[in-house]
């Protein structure tokens, strides 16, 4: 039995936390690559904006795209509703409204994350660098995932957390690879080949796939990298793995009677996985970017379907008057 509002809140909190972790990871990896190649990296920072934010809006509002401006935008900026800071504050606030359903340890860790992160400001970022901040975010993120795994009973509440995380991961991984794969058809100009090599390595690192890839492939080949990151069913950050989790979660919810059998989002998920498999040989090679665009569309449709099916009865508190009434209740 799950309240619709609680299900939606858990789903959304998990999505937010996954996004925060991915943002941190991508920042680290892009920064490392810039240091490694010694190049200005405006293109690479621009790519991050395409994946995690609104590239065109950023360009319109700022003159330069570089590590400093994009780094700030994605971490502590007040103007970005998806900055890590905004995400963590939001996640903590939402989690508080369902804290009775989280284990005490999990709530403590998330609350602690918020408290720790509130300490970060521009001058601390300057002193300690984006690495340090990313490390904090990732470590807290892994702690939370561990606590979710081991201190909560694996019931429908737990499953909605997993579902949110899985869907966000599928979306971001597809987008991440799709943005880079646009270049698959072009061969790099002379001298650009090394940079390209670094970029593909970076992409692998972002998905924690660099070491596993090296074990199973003789060299960096763009096509092989794309296939690995999209289709490898054992790689936790691949699109295939994430979509598999999305399906598994829904079957579990149906088993727990928290989702109707043969619900539309489950059918959509199966379609998406079938598309992923089909496209594996043919389309992937011809038009990887288009193929991954379609995968992202599937993810968006799955999310809308989950909302319609499960969260229809969830009511977003309108704030303002509601908060005033809540505050005014006497608790003598």
């Amino acid at each position: 039995m799950m309240l619709a509002r609680v299900a939606e809140t858990l789903f959304t909190v998990a999505r937010d936390l996954e996004r925060a972790e991915t943002t941190a990871r991508l920042l680290e990896v892009t920064h490392a690559m810039e240091l490694e190649t010694g190049q200005s990296g405006a293109e690479d920072w621009g790519t991050l904006l395409q994946i995690l934010s609104d590239h065109d809006a950023f360009v319109a509002a700022h003159r330069t795209i570089d590590g400093a401006t994009v780094g700030w935008h994605l971490t502590l900026s007040d103007e970005n509703p998806d900055s890590i800071q905004a995400i963590v504050a939001r996640a903590r606030s939402r989690a508080r409204s369902v804290r009775d359903r989280l284990s005490t340890e999990l709530w403590e860790a998330l609350n602690g994350f918020h408290i720790e992160f509130a300490d970060w400001d521009g001058s601390r970022m300057q002193r300690e660098g984006v690495y340090s901040l990313s490390r904090v975010v990732r470590q807290r993120s892994y702690l939370l995932q561990g606590l979710i795994e081991t201190t909560m009973r694996h019931d429908d509440h737990w499953t909605f957390l997993r579902l949110g995380r899985a869907l966000e991961r599928a979306t971001l991984s597809a987008r991440l690879v799709g943005v880079r794969a646009g270049d698959l058809s072009q061969s790099p100009a002379d001298g650009g080949a090394l940079l390209e090599q670094h970029r593909w390595e970076s992409l692998l690192r972002a998905g924690f796939a660099d070491e596993p890839y090296a074990r199973t492939h003789p060299e960096i080949s763009p096509r092989a990298v794309v296939r690995f990151l999209v289709l490898d069913e054992r790689l936790p950050r691949s699109v295939a793995y994430a979509l598999g989790m999305v399906e598994e979660c829904q079957r579990s919810l149906i088993g727990d009677l928290s989702m109707a059998p043969e619900a539309p989002p489950l059918q959509l998920t199966r379609e998406a996985r079938a598309y992923l498999d089909e496209g594996a040989s043919a389309e992937l090679m011809l038009d990887a970017a288009g193929y991954l665009d379609r995968v992202q569309e599937y993810c968006a449709r799955i999310e809308r379907s989950i909302r319609t099916t499960c969260f229809a009865a969830a009511y977003r508190r309108p704030g303002g008057e509601w908060d005033a009434q809540a505050q005014g209740q006497s608790q003598n």
């Binding site: 799950m2 309240l3 602690g112 408290i115 969830a314 009434q325 209740q329 006497s330 608790q331 003598n332």
Partner: protein, 458 residues
Amino acid sequence: MFAADGATRAVYRPLSSRLDRLNARHLDLRSALAQDGFVAQGITFSHDGAERAFPFDVLPRLIDAEEWQQIERGIEQRVRALDAFVRDVYRHRRAVHDGVIPNARVINSRGFLREVMGITPPLGRHVHLAGIDLVRGGDGRWLVLEDNLRNPSGLSYVLQNRVFMRRVFPEAFSDYRVAPVGQAISQLRAGLAAASPDGAGEVRIAVLTPGPENAAYYEHAFLAQQLGVPLVEGSDLVVRGQRLYMKTTVGRERVNVLYRRIDDDFLDPSCLRQDSLLGVGGLLQAYRQGNVAICNAPGNGVADDKSTYAYVPDLIRYYTHEEPILDQVQTFLLDRDEDREYALDHLEDLVVKSVDGSGGYGILVGPHASPEERDAMARRVVADPAGYIAQETVSLSRAPAYIDGEFRPRHVDLRPFVMFGAQPTVVPGGLTRVALREGSLVVNSSQGGGGKDTWVVR
């Protein structure tokens, strides 16, 4: 902690000698550990609009078990009588007919809810969870200061204070046999389950909260979690066919016992406050039909009204046919001419409270007030005599609190909690509230008061 002659009271001697052996740094560390724990868990109470960790004092407040027995019996008696009074108010009003309390007091009470006239809840129980505020005067006598029969809060702090004490000051427990409090949750659950209109086999409890913006939200979430029942907001609920349901991911799920932490007025926008966003339309009708129990029942405010308070000793005699075991503070009803004349002549000796205040606001503490403040209050009283009562001042006892590295005496009161299912059950001890500002008599957490663990000891 100290007797009138300054000697350490017997019950405190083991604690006192242990404290002597402990150096200040240790106590500082323990205190900080407790505070950090409260912050980490977000055990908070809103104060001045900000979320603050509940100020927890690391020294327990001790009550001798024999002394406690008397208090316990007195509270049980009082809650039985108050419950009977509420039942009577909304049925035949025999106490009024028999001249124990005037009808005007009843129907003019802010807490009187005419919409629930004639409704008899399951077991006839109106008071499921009460907090009875007590003070221990200088002469060692316990007095009832106030009854809280609507949304008494603090039970979560009672339980968490004990958990934290075990964590940060475990050795103190070996000096005493301390009565446990952990059973409070199962007792609360039993009390709520007893209210089920569908019998013991069909108990579907939910806790209704106004949401995270409310000052006591932590407690709502904690209790729901400990009870193992859903925490709902008004928008999660719907009434269909005069039955109450929760909105789930796959449809509706029945609720037949609603432990609500919102005010009466906000329960049902279809017949009470129309602008309420916190309740659910049709709830009172479902209640009237006997399809849902509401705990505490709507309309209890008629019995914890400050103007009804003066009649409680007589009500106890009327319903229980016994003398009240616990005394209460002498109270003057200011719309009675002789009471008002006396009060206005003795303002510097009395406490004047507005009848519908709660949380420690709207009070004149005569001995501490300036002549201007007393005059202002006198004018308010003359303008609206029925809106005020006056009470003799009671010197709250003091207990040592650990503040800024030292033991400082601070005024304390006591709020024991009573669960009332088939029988009333009192949780041993209760919440000791501490006025943290030196000399202050105001202990309410909404005004920055803190808390101590309370030990009933042998």
